[in-house]
Symmetry: C2
Subunit: 107 residues, 2 copies
């Protein structure tokens, strides 16, 4: 469940969101986007949790790989639907991971 990322540096996209009421196709889209993201060039992994607030961090080899995923057509449509329907509020933060540590090393 914790992503197995390489030695830094690499890119993290921190997506924080507050959902609107009702599913409105969200669960199916979320599953599809997770599958699609995992097939993109430069994808390193994803970590996600929601309890009220949703916090999803996706990891990429570099900023360009993350930016390319943002431009994937099916994902562009999902982003638009997110803004119009699924999210009351959200924020995207693009960051460069410089250090990583845990019980099993840098991961």
């Amino acid at each position: 469940m914790i992503a197995h990322t390489p030695e830094p540096p690499y890119t993290a996209v921190i997506f924080t969101s507050v959902r609107s009421d009702g599913d409105n196709g969200y669960a199916a889209m979320s599953k599809r986007m997770n599958e699609l993201a995992a097939r993109q060039p430069g994808y390193l992994g994803m970590e996600s949790a929601r309890d009220g607030l949703g916090v999803t961090v996706s990891y990429w080899t570099d900023d360009e790989a993350a930016a390319a995923w943002k431009r994937v057509a099916e994902h562009v449509i999902a982003q638009e639907r997110g803004r119009s329907t699924w999210y009351v509020d959200y924020q995207v933060r693009v960051a460069t991971v410089t250090r990583s540590y845990g019980p099993t090393g840098p991961r």
Copy 2:
């Protein structure tokens, strides 16, 4: 619930964890650490969710502010208790936020 952070750059500490069974003092410590972190110099905000996996991102003015929080005595004790008791697995990633966007601006 979404942290109100300033224009980048600033530092994000991404803490991902898998809890062990039972509370063992975790809830009280978690509340205390959130209160204590919010009083540290350079603290900008925190976003957190847990459903199986826990994903907590804390934001700091710079890496040194984040490093100083890591060294606060009461937090050092909590980290030790986390390693020995509360967490089956965890990872800490220190990152520099370079871009931020959402419906209300950079935040």
